[in-house]
């Protein structure tokens, strides 16, 4: 086993997936959803994306439970035979690395837009990659423990920001509900569900959880919690900005700029910065970790730490060259991200599960 540590369900199935989805989602998603679903964006987040997330979680955990103690990279060859299986494993590793590069890009895009427009993007990328290397070399336990703290900081910041702007929100902006039927709501839910589907990470993490039988419950709770949190943020953003929401890149950030209480508690963007840097660093670290772990398993290495640094270099370099500017990032998130992500989140795992059931590979659902 490459990873020696064991983590519990609360850490790895509730908090970690939350932090693997929310940090970027909470900033990008409200605006993207609003483009299609307008004032009903919160419905896309609360219902459409959550249902998708629950499906992904169900498939990932059911699949993982058939092969206790193994990650998808390890058991894919068992299901599909050595060549195709390795290919699927390699596909997942590539997907993790690519997605991580995108996350770093999103991260630096936001920091550049919001805080430090003159700093070159590569600076943020390098710092973030270095930070993630430290976490990844520490292992899953370290990421999970740090995650518990970051989770608290994240939720607290969010509550403060939303709490302080809610007094001049106009909730009539949310009406009418389902103005143009269900279709725009589902359309608006595509990108958020691609974010939510990132809980597919569980394919890689399940073997290291000490009570995998209970994981599904926690993972469901996590997905639903994400839905509620995102819907809340969207409700507040929509009722604050109305139809303007879709033209903002980072509605939550604009919300934080809005804050003015008693005339001196003003401009709490720094809270966003704290939330963002802490949250994204965990998000990057998780993806980075599963990528390194998967790569090591793909090549049958004894330890994933030697591949950690090379992957970091790839991440930093790739994130810089991926997109021209942050507008392109958003465009990619709207157009290419959903089909690309859904393939790896639901399609491939479902196929794997189907083939495994048909070929009677792996143990029973309750694991061994």
């Amino acid at each position: 086993m490459l990873e020696g540590g064991r983590v519990n369900n609360r850490q790895a199935a509730l908090i970690l997936p939350f932090l693997a989805v929310m940090p970027t989602a909470v900033l990008f998603v409200p605006a993207i959803t609003a483009i299609f679903a307008k004032q009903n964006g919160w419905l896309s987040l609360l219902v459409v994306a959550t249902v998708f997330g629950l499906l992904v979680a169900l498939v990932a955990v059911k699949l993982g439970l058939r092969f206790p103690g193994q990650t998808v990279v390890e058991y894919a060859p068992e299901i599909l035979g050595p060549y195709l299986g390795k290919l699927v494993g390699a596909g997942f590793v590539f997907w993790f690395i690519h997605l991580d590069a995108v996350i770093i890009r999103e991260y630096s895009a936001f920091l550049m837009t919001a805080f430090m427009p003159e700093t070159p993007q590569v600076v943020f990328a390098v710092f973030q990659a270095l930070l993630a290397v430290i976490a990844v070399r520490g292992g899953l336990e370290v990421i999970c423990r740090a995650g518990e703290w970051v989770f608290v900081v994240f939720i607290l910041s969010l509550v403060i920001i939303l709490g302080l702007v809610v007094h001049d929100a106009d909730f009539t902006e949310l009406l009418p509900v389902l103005e143009n039927g269900v279709k725009p709501v589902i359309h608006g839910g595509l990108t958020p569900s691609a974010f939510r589907g990132e809980v597919v990470l569980m394919l890689m993490l399940l073997p290291y959880i000490n009570q995998p039988q209970k994981t599904l419950k926690y993972l469901f709770a996590s997905v639903i919690l994400m839905g509620i949190t995102l819907a809340q943020a969207t409700v507040v953003a929509t009722s604050e900005f109305g139809i303007m929401t879709e033209s903002l890149t980072f509605p939550l950030f604009s919300l934080a700029r809005f804050i003015s209480v008693f005339g001196f508690i003003e401009r709490l963007e720094s809270l966003i910065l704290i939330m963002w840097v802490a949250g994204v660093s965990v998000k990057v670290a998780v993806f980075y970790y599963v990528a390194a772990l998967g790569a090591a398993q793909l090549f049958n290495l004894k330890d994933y730490r030697p591949v950690a640094l090379p992957i970091g270099v790839i991440l930093a370099a790739w994130s810089v060259s991926l997109f021209e500017d942050s507008r392109e990032v958003v465009e990619w998130l709207i157009i290419s991200f959903p089909p690309y992500a859904h393939t790896f989140q639901l399609l491939i795992p479902s196929l794997l599960l189907l083939v495994a059931v048909l070929r009677k590979k792996g143990g029973t659902e309750n694991g061994g």
């Binding site: 519990n8 609360r10 850490q11 920091l111 805080f115 430090m116 700093t119 600076v123 943020f124 710092f127 973030q128 930070l131 430290i134 976490a135 520490g138 292992g139 336990e141 370290v142 990421i143 999970c144 423990r145 740090a146 518990e148 703290w149 970051v150 001196f264 003003e266 401009r267 963007e269 720094s270 910065l273 704290i274 840097v277 802490a278 660093s281």
Partner: protein, 540 residues
């Protein structure tokens, strides 16, 4: 490259170790005593050659016939009164006063002297010259008798030591005033007086080939985690060194993560604090010749706790601990926040405050970072000077430093007034951290964070904090996660971290260290009027 250097060093160390062990084998070997006193004396004289503090006394015991004897001890390490009153006088007693059947004769003289003549409790025999020498350098007196191939080792150890005083580094307002001294026996007594139980175990080790320093591992049997105790034993036994002069030597040799900036062993000079920790299942390592005692395992909340927190009422303790937590953050972050905000994020300040700071900084020659770095360095120099100087001058230095340099620097236009306040606040805040070695970490960490703040603003500070968080999460102290119970979260153990629950609600010991015997007191002892247990206070 680093790896290669490391391997080379390892190789060198290996050679060294082999050489060292060869040396050690010579001194640890056996060498039986001779029956002939003259030969033993000759041997002892050659061993203690040029040791001017060794007293060797030849004497004659009044027996029938008189027996030659030889006493050897180190001056200053034994109680001379005890030797003269209870050893010398007994041996040189007028034979006429002794009943005929009890007089010393030939072969059984040795056991008779040992069992019925010498009035000292601690007396042992040895037949090994090396053992005798070891005991003598330890402070025992050795007594040899002609015709017997054995020696008596009389425990009459006594040497000068400081009296029990209040610890300088951990003063309290409420609570006991005694602190550990340099004498190990006094220290163990101070603890034993607080925990009068046979379950308080004190295992003895001797570490240091030359210094032969006594090290005591103390723990409470049945509460302390056996694995931790075993790990402490294992790590202590691994130490091969010529000398241990302070517990810091041991601390550095038993740490889990030697490259970390954070202390992984808790230290205290207070017996009450040590006793409280032992009761919670921690393990203490007490070292001779130093008042500083080590406690393992340590977790981060520990570094913010003072023993006084448990003596004052809990609300006050919670208040003080939160204050300390705030002060910790100020000590770590305030200069960097100042740099980051004045350089990159001016919009975060209220407009009036920003204008005031900006007008102060008008015409200043250096950027905020240089100012802060300059003042912080000046302060660290002053602090170091204050410790090194004789106490009376130390105060003068701090006054000169604080008032004269600070004021003059502002007047000379070198730094802005705001930074003087920032540095002063940082300095005062850093003194609130109760644990001395933890405050070192904070002091050192402040500088890299300042650099990051100067380069990247708030983002840099946040990155630094995340690095620290990841690092803290990866640390372990004797198998216990360093950040526990905060991460991994253990809600039960949170009763005694940043907050301190009232004593009647903390009826269980911390789960992570004392899971063997978690119960500290019985439930339901919350006091109040009319609350009486059946039978207990019923007769009042």
């Amino acid at each position: 490259m680093f790896n290669r250097a490391y391997r080379k060093i390892k190789k060198l160390l290996k050679q060294n170790k082999q050489a060292g062990s060869g040396d050690g084998a010579g001194s640890a070997g056996q060498q039986p005593l001779a029956a002939d006193l003259g030969r033993n004396i000759q041997e002892l004289r050659s061993i203690f050659e040029r040791c001017s503090d060794v007293v060797m006394r030849q004497l004659v015991i009044n027996g029938e016939p008189p027996v030659d004897a030889f006493l050897v001890y180190i001056d200053g390490m034994v109680d001379v009164h005890l030797i003269s009153d209870h050893v010398m006088r007994a041996l040189q007693m007028n034979p006429a006063l002794v009943p005929r059947n009890q007089r010393l004769t030939g072969p059984d003289a040795f056991s008779k002297i040992k069992d019925s003549f010498i009035g000292v409790v601690g007396i042992k025999t040895t037949s090994d010259m090396q053992q005798l020498v070891r005991q003598v350098v330890y402070g025992d007196a050795g007594l040899l008798i002609d015709g017997v191939a054995a020696a008596m080792v009389i425990n009459a150890r006594q040497w000068e030591s400081r009296t029990v005083e209040e610890s300088n580094t951990e003063p309290v307002v409420r609570g006991p005033r005694d602190g550990f001294t340099e004498k190990l026996r006094t220290n163990t007594t101070l603890v034993r007086r607080r925990i009068k139980s046979h379950r308080l175990k004190m295992e003895n080790y001797k570490i240091g080939q030359l210094t032969q320093t006594d090290v005591v591992v103390a723990y409470i049997d049945g509460i302390a985690n056996d694995k931790v105790v075993e790990e402490v034993r294992r790590r202590l036994k691994r130490i091969k060194i010529d000398g241990i002069l302070e517990s810091g030597y041991i601390e550095e040799l038993i740490e889990d993560q030697p490259y970390s900036i954070f202390p992984q062993v808790n230290v205290t000079e207070r017996p009450d604090k040590l006793a409280a920790n032992l009761l919670e299942g921690y393990v203490a390592i007490m070292v001779d010749n130093t008042p500083v005692t080590l406690i393992v395992p340590v977790t981060v909340p520990f570094l913010l706790q003072s023993s006084e927190d448990y003596y004052n009422r809990y609300l006050y303790a919670i208040f003080v601990r939160m204050l300390r937590f705030l002060a910790l953050n100020i000590a770590l972050l305030l200069p960097s926040l100042y740099i980051a905000i004045t350089t990159y994020h001016q919009e975060m300040l209220p407009t009036l405050l920003f204008i005031s700071i900006a007008s102060q900084r008008e015409g200043m020659p250096f950027p905020a970072f240089v100012e802060a770095l300059f003042m912080e360095t000046v302060f660290e120099i002053l602090r170091e000077a204050g410790i090194r100087l004789p106490r009376q001058i130390g105060q003068a230095v701090s006054i000169v430093g604080a008032l004269v340099i600070g004021d003059a620097a502002v007047k000379a236009g070198l730094v802005s007034p705001a930074i003087v306040m920032v540095v002063a606040l940082t300095a005062i805040a850093s003194f609130t951290i109760p644990n001395y070695s933890a405050s070192f970490s904070i002091r050192i960490l402040r500088f890299p964070i300042m650099v990051l703040a100067a380069i990247l603003g708030l983002f840099g500070i946040m990155t630094a904090l995340m690095v620290i968080l990841y690092h803290l999460c990866s640390l372990r102290s004797f198998g216990v996660p360093y950040l526990s119970p905060l991460a991994p979260i253990n809600f039960h153990d949170m009763q005694d971290t940043i907050i301190r629950m009232p004593r009647w609600s903390m009826f269980q010991r911390p789960q992570l260290v004392a899971y063997k015997d978690p119960r500290r007191m019985s439930r339901g002892q919350k006091p109040g009027p009319g609350r009486q247990d059946k039978g207990d206070r019923g007769d009042a």
